[in-house]
């Protein structure tokens, strides 16, 4: 039908319009004075929809990079050590989680004497933040505040791709671009001036599983780890999603056939329908005969 195909096109256009805001995000973080677009290349990840999963070994390496490098400045206040052992994540063994937690001293209390005290962390504790408060964090970082990394992979356009691009995006500033005092040139960062000094260098983290200890691998592993930190239920979501989709497709097929069967009464042969409508809208004479 002519009009309905037009309407379909309009619906398609509407759907296209839905992508508008997210498509526009790419340059939303870019100040107008910036003359180089941020370079964020798409990477291939193990967790892409619809059937992806996290690579446990990669997340464990990523956690190691976080613990040994990022955690010196960046908090992850929404995560607990127990999360490291939960299904669909790095899946450290329960014993390993306890050991990882106990390596960290956290403040607890007050005790019965009314005093705060230090104790080794338990799996139920939140990740310890490197700074007690924002002011201390700024003081230690030349006035810049290292953002919390708990949901960073969802809080930046590009997600894990962006984090990878940022961590591998440090280069010498191009001709004519002079970063401000204490700032560093980064190809991926909006505006290209970032306060964070290049955090990774080859060999800075010692991998024990034979993965090459180079910046590219560190960046990839820690980006995957941060994606998991932001979306710890991603695997569960995909798994349930597949079941729901299969159910819905079968249900849709059944509904389609049922709809066809019911409407066949209207489309072919009118008699059955007349009977029904006559019942639905009783006329004067029919009432009399009843």
């Amino acid at each position: 039908m002519n009009s309905s195909s037009l309407v379909l096109m309009a619906a398609g256009a509407l759907l296209l319009a839905l992508t508008g805001p997210s498509a526009a995000e790419d340059d939303s973080g870019t100040p107008p004075n910036n003359n180089h677009a941020p370079e964020i290349a798409r990477q291939s990840w193990s967790f892409t929809p619809p059937f992806g999963t996290y690579d446990n070994a990669q997340l464990q390496r990523g956690f190691q990079v976080y613990k040994e490098v990022c955690a010196n400045c960046h908090s992850m206040r929404l995560l607990s050590y127990r999360n490291l052992g939960e299904p669909g994540g790095p899946e450290f063994a329960p014993k390993a989680v306890e050991v990882l937690a106990s390596q960290v001293q956290v403040t607890d209390g007050p005790n019965e004497k009314g005093e705060m005290f230090q104790r080794p962390a338990r799996p139920s504790d939140r990740f310890r933040s490197p700074f007690a408060n924002e002011q201390l964090a700024r003081l230690a970082n030349n006035g810049a505040l290292p953002p919390d990394l708990s949901v960073i992979a969802k809080a930046r356009p590009g997600g894990a791709d962006y984090i990878y691009a940022l961590l591998t995006g440090y280069r010498p500033a191009p001709q004519g671009f002079a970063p401000a005092e204490g700032m560093h040139y980064n190809a991926a960062f909006p505006g290209h001036q970032i306060a964070m000094a290049p955090p990774l260098s080859d060999g800075v983290v010692v991998y024990t599983d034979g993965t090459k200890p180079i910046v590219g691998n560190y960046a990839r592993d820690v980006s995957a780890f941060l994606m998991w930190a932001a979306e710890p239920k991603l695997e569960e979501r995909y798994t349930l999603g597949a079941r729901v989709m299969i159910f819905l497709i079968v249900f849709l097929a059944i509904m389609y056939l049922a709809k066809r069967a019911v409407w066949a009464r209207v489309h072919h042969g009118n008699e059955a329908l007349h009977l029904e409508t006559a019942r639905a809208v009783p006329a004067q004479d029919e009432k009399a005969t009843r």
Binding site: A155, R237, K259, T277, A278, R279, A280, V281
Partner: protein
């Protein structure tokens, strides 16, 4: 209501209940045998879809509310707690946030369908007005709901939108400022603001449910409009609502849920903004404040007008004008299918709304601003000029004699055992 009741209580208990509360009779008459035009297409299935979406939003929302902490320091973290530690919390929250988008997608299609087929014309003006009221309540509810995660976009959206009221200072100096502070519950957007937005966000869906009940009631008095826009004349023009439309609406609903589920499970943040995963910070303005996609056309209209007060007036007017559509449209026929001139203007209006949505996501500068003004002008011209003028000068195409005629041919209508009481001798159009 509109048709004589055909309910027959067969057992003693049914007769007993029927004499006291005829609820079974109402369900039977209004939802089982309710005579529904036989030619409704799939654009008519969105009413049922919307009812379902309202139920989804209320059901998921009630559970989310059990875990949400409406304070400045607690809101963001409690949402993350729902995502991480509450059983099925991630599903509830993503279904609720994607659900809001799906709700708006459906309501916009439903509204455009009503506009296209002239469903607002007599005798369905009250039905239409109630629908516009639902749309306004939905806009308010969605806006308040978006504030609750208390991310950067939440906070700044609340700041921008509540500040719109300060434009009233141009009318009575001091009035706008007073009003804004009253809304905020302080001198800036903060904890009290969040708390009251939460309270109202919980209240409004039930107001919507109430108006939906009135909307359905108002629908069941004249009955459904249909793609031809002509009235039901003989019983064969209709089929009983059940099973014909329960099954058709059900099929469409499952197809709709399929899209909904694909977004929830595979791209739950696709329609959201990454900045809302940054906790609200009153000291740092995001580079680019944008509302959710479903508000972008209105945002474009707001920013197209250089004067703040007039911009706010245009923003409100763009929705309020819908209330007057039944009287702005002067056409003799309902369905755009039979309106050769108006249909071009109608599709231009659809394109305008989509274009405004695109422009709402862009910076209001250069060509974007120029285009925004052109499309804003057409948005209002469609209602204020096209609807009254085209209806007067246009010669509609010939209408079919009845709803059944284009389906089965004129013989079928003549052969039908039509009851003389229902058959009108004169044919409209």
């Amino acid at each position: 209501m509109a048709h004589p009741s055909s309910y027959q209580p067969n057992t003693g208990i049914e007769r007993w209940l029927d004499a006291r509360l005829p609820i079974v009779r109402v369900v039977h008459d209004q939802f089982m045998v309710f005579p529904t035009p036989r030619n409704l297409n799939y654009w008519w299935t969105f009413g049922g879809i919307l009812t379902f979406m309202l139920a989804v939003q209320i059901a998921t929302g009630v559970v989310l509310a059990m875990h949400f902490v409406p304070t400045e320091s607690g809101a963001f973290d409690s949402v993350e707690k729902i995502m991480r530690d509450v059983n099925w919390g991630w599903l509830l929250r993503y279904a609720h946030s994607v659900g809001a988008s799906m709700f708006f997608l459906a309501v916009y299609i439903h509204t455009f369908r009503g506009l296209y087929y002239g469903s607002y014309k007599a005798p369905r003006e009250v039905l239409w007005i109630l629908g516009v009221l639902i749309l306004m309540l939905m806009i308010a509810t969605a806006f308040m709901g978006y504030s609750l995660p208390w991310g950067q976009m939440s906070f700044w959206a609340v700041t921008v939108i509540t500040n719109l009221f300060s434009s009233l200072d141009a009318v009575i100096p001091g009035l706008g400022t007073r009003l804004v502070q009253w809304i905020w519950g302080g001198f800036a957007v903060g904890g009290p603001t969040l708390n009251r937005l939460y309270s109202l966000h919980y209240l409004f869906p039930f107001l919507i449910a109430g108006v939906v009940a009135l909307h359905i009631w108002a629908l069941h008095i004249p009955g459904n409009n249909n793609p031809t826009g002509i009235d039901v004349k003989v019983p064969t023009d209709t089929v009983p609502f059940h099973p014909y439309y329960t099954i058709k609406d059900g099929f469409a609903l499952v197809a709709f849920i399929l899209v909904f589920a694909a977004l929830v499970f595979y791209a739950p943040n696709f329609l959201g903004h990454p900045d809302n995963y940054i906790p609200a910070n009153p000291l740092q303005t995001p580079t680019h404040i944008v509302p959710e996609w479903y508000f972008l056309p209105f945002y474009a209209i707001l920013r197209a007008i250089p004067n703040k007060l007039l911009g706010v007036a245009a923003l409100n007017g763009s929705i309020l004008i819908l209330f007057f559509v039944p009287w702005l449209d002067t056409s003799k026929v309902r369905s755009t299918r039979y309106r050769p001139v108006y249909r071009w203007f109608f599709w231009a209006f659809v394109v305008t709304c989509v274009a405004l949505g695109y422009l709402g996501a862009q910076q209001p500068e250069g060509w974007y601003l120029v285009l925004g003004r052109i499309f804003t002008a057409y948005y209002f011209a469609f209602f204020l000029v096209v609807m009254p003028v085209v209806g007067l000068i246009e010669k509609p195409r010939g209408l079919p004699g009845s709803i059944t005629e284009p389906v089965l041919g004129p013989e079928a209508v003549r052969a039908a055992p039509a009851t003389p009481r229902r058959l009108k001798p004169e044919q409209v159009g």
